[in-house]
């Protein structure tokens, strides 16, 4: 080791943006080096759109007011959020915790929220990029109408990102190892895929089932996204959907603040 007696000198402080950027950059490198995560992030959403479409052939969309492509593509947006944000982040948080990276980061200047957000940023950015590509591709090549109320669409996607990011952090606290993340992420994934209108629009369900499903965590987000893109949703429905999404997001963030584990169990 070189004997270094560098004098302390006036220092430039770090900013929240700088810290988030540094954490996100490292996490992006890790994502690119992790083949499984890369596969989940880049290919799963596309495969899912294909299977949504195939599934819809069986169900029939009479009475939902949606075409096959519309249902598949709007469900695809929700699927991209669930897969790229939620399924990707749970193992990422668990890995960083078990590697004691989170504990080490907490000794530094980044706040708890910055550590969790910085880790999530690459996945969030990829989810957003995929959403944009899907909307553009659907409008340009598949004859889907352009977003009718873009502000609702954007609000739905952003609410979904906050909600699913927080749910991912909370699920990570219930997950001991990276391997078991495949199990612990299943309940929310399945409930959302089947009950939140990702595969089959809720309008196709019997009324009472649909009413219950409307309260599931991701349903509000999907309703906002679908209403924002295709239009036609009435104001009451949108308000209910927005409220559901916000309440779930608030509950998830609160749970993370209270319960998140920063180091492995002993």
């Amino acid at each position: 080791m070189a004997a270094t007696a560098t004098p302390h000198r006036p220092r430039t402080g770090t900013t929240a943006a700088g810290r988030l950027g540094a954490l996100a950059r490292a996490e992006l490198v890790l994502l690119v080096r992790n083949r499984t995560a890369l596969f989940v992030t880049l290919l799963m959403p596309l495969l899912m759109i294909g299977s949504i479409r195939a599934g819809l052939d069986q169900v029939g969309l009479e009475g939902t007011g949606l075409t096959l492509v519309e249902a598949a593509m709007t469900g695809g947006l929700g699927m991209a959020l669930v897969i790229v944000v939620y399924l990707n982040l749970v193992p990422a948080y668990v890995t960083r915790r078990e590697e004691l990276v989170l504990k080490r980061l907490r000794t530094g200047e980044a706040s708890d929220a910055e550590i969790l957000t910085g880790t999530a940023l690459p996945s969030v950015a990829l989810a957003l990029v995929q959403c944009v590509i899907m909307v553009v591709a659907a409008v340009a090549f598949l004859g889907v109408r352009a977003p009718q109320r873009p502000e609702l669409l954007v609000a739905g996607v952003l609410a979904g990102i906050v909600l699913l990011g927080a749910l991912a952090a909370f699920t990570a606290t219930l997950t001991r190892t990276v391997e078991s993340a495949q199990l612990t992420t299943m309940p929310l994934f399945l409930v959302s895929a089947l009950g939140s209108g990702l595969f089959v629009p809720l309008e196709a369900f019997p009324e009472k089932v649909g009413a219950v499903c409307a309260l599931l965590p991701v349903t509000g987000v999907v309703t906002l996204v679908r209403g924002g893109w295709l239009g036609g949703a009435d104001a009451g429905e949108l308000v209910r959907a927005g409220a559901t999404a916000l309440v779930w997001a608030a509950v998830a963030v609160f749970a993370v603040r209270r319960r998140f584990r920063w180091e492995p169990r002993h």
Binding site: A3, H8, R9, T14, R25, T107, E109
Partner: protein, 321 residues
């Protein structure tokens, strides 16, 4: 040398300490109290070594000082601030090396330092940080391919990245080979010479003796002995050992040395006044014309003091740390 020269950008109180703990307590949620009323203070620019057996409460104490957890009782100040509640004020001015800290295994050494630098005020350039700990040659290696010692060095590099005023090192040389340990010692000495306050925990007593201005020995969540290394050992008796010559009964030893223990012909005398006890013994041997085989006289070593404290858990009065 004034430390102020090295910290021109900050106001340092003339009096006061870089680290203060007062009746500090930490109780875990399961009810176990790991820290049971610890009081000490580290003056600016000094090195304090926190010693103790496993489970003595060293790491639990250090984590309170680092602001990783709130104290369940008492008061803690680092650079005049509460390290837990005023984290934003304290963190940019301290460096931390955990006993077990982690880095993403798939990042290279350079990428790790760069990530850390983005979260560190006034970070040194990456090359300089790696030079300090002798890792410059491993800059492009993934963390998972580093040896345990190299990971310790990387951890140290990150703790030093922001030129901290106060440095917390939890077992900094555990897992290092002899050379690595010596390098780390030199680094800590250099840092102290430039005015950095250091609190380190260690299992190695010679490390504490070599580096620390002050020692505090913990046992069962309390500080049971403290002071300079010389003070801690001075409170322990010195000992004289020899073999009693054949045909000389122990009863013939001078009266002042009667506190002797016998084990066959081997005699051990414990004394707080080594010089006069030894002089008395030698005078007696001279007058009796006997030869004391295996004569060995020594002051208490830190190791002996430590072992005795660990065995008994006996409280001695803190000597002004």
């Amino acid at each position: 040398m004034t430390s102020d020269h090295h910290h021109p950008d900050r106001v340092r109180p003339v009096h006061g300490h870089a680290i203060e703990a007062e009746d500090l307590r930490r109780r875990y949620s399961e009810g176990f109290e790991a820290v049971s009323g610890v009081t000490f203070a580290v003056p600016y620019g000094e090195v304090l070594a926190l010693l103790g057996t496993n489970g003595a409460g060293k790491t639990s104490t250090v984590e309170l000082l680092e602001g990783l957890a709130p104290a369940s009782g008492g008061r803690v100040r680092v650079l005049g601030h509460d390290p837990y509640r005023e984290r934003a004020a304290v963190r940019p001015r301290i460096g931390v090396m955990l006993q077990e800290g982690g880095f993403p295994s798939d990042l290279t050494v350079t990428e790790t330092v760069r990530m850390w630098a983005g979260c560190t005020s006034g970070a040194r350039p990456t090359g300089e940080a790696l030079d300090m700990v002798g890792l410059a040659g491993r800059a492009r290696v993934r963390v998972k391919q580093l040896s345990g010692g190299e990971r310790r060095r990387l951890d140290l590099a990150l703790a030093l990245l922001g030129r901290p005023e106060v440095l917390f090192l939890d077992e900094p040389t555990t897992g290092l080979d002899a050379e690595g340990r010596r390098d780390t010692w030199n680094l800590v000495r250099d840092l102290r010479d430039t005015g950095t306050t250091v609190l380190l925990t260690t299992h190695y007593l010679e490390e504490a003796e070599a580096l620390a201005d002050q020692l505090a020995i913990m046992h069962g969540g309390r500080i049971v002995a403290s002071g300079t290394p010389a003070e801690v050992t001075a409170s322990r008796p010195a000992r004289i050992r020899f073999e009693l010559p054949a045909g000389v009964p122990a009863a013939r030893l001078p009266l002042t040395l009667r506190a002797a223990q016998h084990d066959g012909r081997r005699v051990e005398i414990r004394t707080h006044d080594l010089q006069s006890a030894l002089a008395g013994l030698l005078r007696w041997a001279d007058e009796e014309g006997v030869r004391l085989e295996g004569l060995d006289a020594r002051s208490a070593s830190l190791e002996e003091a430590f072992l005795e404290i660990a065995r008994s858990g006996a409280a001695t009065e803190p000597a002004g740390v």
